[in-house]
């Protein structure tokens, strides 16, 4: 790879991007590098290290809004809000360990750019739902502002949605404003062992459709030697107890999971840790009710998050076959982890139908007319 460059002001960043647009250099935007191993290798791209943009800009807990520079480490952001009894409104996580590097390097900008969302996606939403505003530099080398710093805003196009999960292909994000929420006082996990995938998905759907206000629900193929379906309740203690009673009445054989075990279980689910690491790892999003069909159609080891709406699949199956199974179920498949040779050949993001791909291309050109950010990674 071409040497990295680390700007520390929007002006410097704008100059780098404008120069690249003129001289034909392509730029790969990078935070802590925790997700470097996602997508095709880009030997010719110059890396722009965004960690020069670091620090808290504004945080007033009762406003439920946090503004922070994009290169700030996720761990720092989480510690900051936890100190005030709050949490980010979505459930971000560090991809480091999952992709073979150290934890703690992920930046908040990288989380937003990758649209990361953990188990509570199913109840609280994803990064896209809680990015209120951002400042960025477009592929034109222009600094622009989108969204705002209040929790409720419909002024102009919702560009924060578009930038979330855009993987550095629209603009370099220098500052983000995120919604925060009070952290729950108590978490309790209930589990039921031995269900097959269809029964597990059905049980999770019943739990999600009940008045128990389930925060997260997941199903592991193998936990302590047997399949485990886990249902998590977050909130005030009296409320969690009442809701646990609802789940207990609803699902046969459900029992509390000890806190210490739950504290290992959820991070393992979040990062698909129980799955083998020496085969390609896929992330399949589809309607939960259709997920048993996907599981039946593919080989490998897997686990289900998002009440069955997210399938982490470690499989040596042919990429086309995996993508076809996902599409058949109304979903899509992203290649998250594989060796460099596979990643060079198989696109990480699920290819779109032609008309939609054309429109996406037009939207990308609206931010980046010269293609400065088109490194070939995606």
């Amino acid at each position: 790879m071409v040497g990295a460059i680390r700007p520390d002001s929007a002006d410097a960043l704008a100059a780098i991007i404008a120069d690249a647009a003129s001289d034909g250099t392509r730029l790969r935007l990078r935070g802590g590098g925790s997700k470097d191993a996602i997508g095709a290798p880009t030997p010719d791209a110059r890396i722009v290290d965004m960690r020069g943009f670091s620090g808290v800009v504004d945080y007033d807990p009762p406003e439920l809004v946090l503004t922070v520079k994009a290169g700030t480490p996720l761990a720092e952001v989480q510690a900051l809000v936890a100190d005030q009894g709050q949490m980010l409104a979505f459930d971000p996580f560090d991809h480091g360990a999952m992709l073979g590097c150290a934890d703690g390097e992920a930046t908040i900008g990288g989380i937003v750019a990758a649209g990361v969302a953990g188990p509570t996606r199913v109840s609280r939403g994803a990064a896209r739902d809680h990015l209120l505003g951002f400042v960025g530099v477009s592929g034109r080398g222009e600094r622009f502002v989108a969204g705002a710093k209040v929790v409720k805003n419909v002024t102009g196009y919702d560009l924060p949605k578009l930038i979330t999960g855009s993987w550095g292909r629209l603009a370099a994000i220098t500052e983000v404003t995120l919604k925060v929420l009070p952290a729950p006082r108590l978490q309790r996990t209930l589990g039921v062992a031995g269900l097959d995938p269809a029964a597990a998905i059905s049980a999770m759907a019943r739990a999600m459709g009940s008045a128990a206000e389930v925060s997260a629900a997941a199903h592991l193929q193998d936990w302590n030697g047997a399949p485990l379906t886990a249902i998590r309740l977050d909130g005030f203690p009296s409320s969690v107890e009442a809701r646990a009673a609802i789940i207990t009445a609803l699902i046969d054989g459900v029992a509390p999971v000890a806190d210490e075990e739950a504290a290992r279980l959820w991070p393992a689910i979040t990062t698909a840790a129980p799955l083998p690491t020496d085969v390609p790892l896929w992330r399949i999003v589809a309607p939960a009710a259709r997920m048993p069909d996907v599981i039946a159609a593919v080989g490998g080891r897997w686990l289900l998050d998002w009440a069955g709406g997210l399938l982490w699949l470690a499989s040596t199956d042919d990429a086309q076959a995996i993508r076809a199974a996902a599409m058949q179920a109304g979903g899509h498949a992203m290649l998250v982890r594989a060796d460099a040779e596979t990643r060079a050949a198989v696109p990480a993001l699920h290819p779109q139908p032609k008309a939609l791909a054309t429109l996406e291309e037009r939207v990308r050109r609206a931010f980046d007319p010269a293609g400065v950010f088109e490194t070939g990674r995606f």
Binding site: P62, V151, K152, V154, L159, K161, S238, G331
Partner: protein, 497 residues
């Protein structure tokens, strides 16, 4: 009417007969309206100060018809204004004299209810409330609840990213829509998102929601539904001064409580509402707070106590807690009747919609009172206190010459004030015509140009709902101009549009 729409194109007006005939060829029978008296009901939406009969109204019934209409209009350079139920408060559906008004009212079917994945697939002309009605017997509901929910359509909600009193806890429309089918101005039918939790690729769904009919015409919507909470109870809390009410709101949130709804009314609003519906609001308070808590009964009783303690600590002088659902509904009745109540205080009113950081509330209300005196126009305030979304209602009389313009100037000053304290022009009603010319107060020319380039990616000829949202429509070619170095375009291998 101080905000000007683009001047009609004479050459298009001259082709009216041909355009009507083309529409009739696509949508037969009563689906095309061109008689002057029948166009009248379509001349405005809920921003009634602005009126303009459209050239022709077309009411298609199928996605194929919508695609054919848009394809024809695109090929013939005719502007199109989409419309749902016409309840927009920002003029989002204001017609154009030289434009086709594309009414989506006939898309009124619920296509699928799926409890396993907790979603409903509907056509865009289905009303917001009809979705909840379709699933409530099974214990579910659709969370966003704009106050016009009896009439407003889900298609309009998608266009405007509508909110409601429950969005602090449950989000706006954008947080509750899983996918849409939409038709581009070129007549291409596309699907973004679907029944899964996340769309593939760029989040085009996220930018289509709230795009005010400028990017495409939505022909199908998939929304998520939620199980109805076990219980809901409300507190009605009166404060002798606004500051105490503001502190109470902040303290409730600081205590880790996110109420289902948290609404504030100022004294004039309380008096107007009580005179209108007589629900027993205290009349001797400066601010009235309605706090609704929902969830399991155990949680509600616990949180009711906490909120009551917080309210007393902030100087509340009256506190009532609903004992049954009828009483809870009564607490809300006055708030929900605030708009018609304002209609009894003055012949006309303008409803503003800025959002501010909540900590600035006392200051903003004081400055609003000063503006009210300066302009000599009354203002009553209702607002979504939890998320800082203000709805000042400016009272005026349109029959008095110049008073509408005066009221609009007052409203613009309020919105400038919202932006000045760190807030925004609109929290849930949309920019539309109403706030279009104020966009530069919040966004720089570079920010606005970036937004408009997204518009150009979807609609390069600017035919969809022009005159809304952007104060100036630059030609897309002008916005797309790139710096060309030594006469050579970089990256010649990339397709360009």
């Amino acid at each position: 009417m101080s905000i000007k729409m683009p001047a009609p194109d004479e050459t298009v007006l001259a082709r009216r007969g041909e355009i009507v005939a083309a529409m009739r060829a696509i949508v037969p029978g009563e689906g095309v309206i061109d008689k002057a008296d029948e166009l009248r009901p379509y001349e405005s939406d809920a921003l009634t100060a602005y009126r303009q009969p459209p050239m022709v109204v077309v009411l298609p019934e199928t996605t194929e018809q919508v695609a054919a209409i848009l394809r024809w209009c695109h090929a013939n350079r005719v502007k199109v204004v989409p419309r749902g139920a016409g309840t927009s408060l920002s003029g989002g559906a204001l017609p154009l004299a030289d434009g086709v008004l594309l009414g989506m009212a006939r898309f009124n079917r619920i296509l699928d209810v799926d409890y396993a994945d907790r979603l409903v697939v509907v056509q865009p002309g289905v009303t917001n409330l009809a979705i909840t009605r379709a699933v409530e017997d099974d214990g579910f509901y659709y969370a966003p609840d704009p106050s016009s929910q009896i009439a407003c359509t889900i298609g309009g909600n998608v266009a405007e990213n509508s909110g409601g009193v429950h969005c602090l806890k449950y989000g706006l429309t954008t947080n509750n829509v899983l996918g849409v089918e939409f038709v581009t101005i070129e007549g291409e039918v596309l699907r973004v998102g679907g029944r899964g939790l996340e769309p593939a690729g760029l989040d085009l769904l996220g930018v289509i929601v709230g795009s005010e009919g400028l990017l495409g015409v939505v022909t199908e919507v998939t929304v998520r539904i939620l199980p109805r909470p076990e219980t809901a109870r409300a507190l009605l809390i009166g404060f002798p001064e606004v500051e105490g009410a503001g502190r109470c709101v902040a303290d409730v949130i600081a205590a880790g409580i996110i109420p289902a709804g948290m609404e504030m009314m100022d004294k004039p609003a309380v008096h107007a509402a009580e005179a209108f519906v007589q629900v027993g609001y205290p009349l001797d308070v400066e601010a009235l707070l309605i706090v609704e808590l929902d969830g399991p009964a155990a949680e509600c009783s616990h949180l009711l106590e906490e909120v009551e303690t917080i309210a007393r600590a902030n100087g509340a002088v009256s506190i009532r807690i609903s004992t049954d659902d009828a009483e809870r509904v009564a607490f809300w009745a006055g708030r929900k009747a605030a708009f018609p109540a304002a209609g009894r205080l003055a012949p006309d009113y303008l409803c503003m919609d800025g959002t501010i950081p909540r900590r600035r509330l006392p200051d903003v209300l004081a400055r609003m009172r000063a503006l009210s005196e300066q302009y000599g126009l009354g203002v009553i305030n209702v607002f979504h206190a939890g998320d800082g979304n203000l709805h000042p209602l400016i009272l005026y009389d349109a029959n008095k010459p110049g008073e509408l313009e005066h009221a609009e100037a007052f409203g613009a000053d309020i919105l400038r004030l919202c932006v000045e304290v760190g807030g925004v022009l609109t929290g849930e009603h949309g920019v539309g015509v109403e706030k279009r010319d104020l966009m530069p107060v919040m966004f720089s020319p570079v920010d606005l140009a970036q937004q408009q380039r997204v518009k150009c990616a979807f609609d390069p000829d600017l035919l969809l709902n022009p005159g809304k949202m952007f104060p100036e429509l630059h030609r897309c070619a002008e916005l797309g101009r790139m710096h060309v170095h030594r006469g050579v375009l970089p990256f010649p291998d990339l397709p360009r549009f």
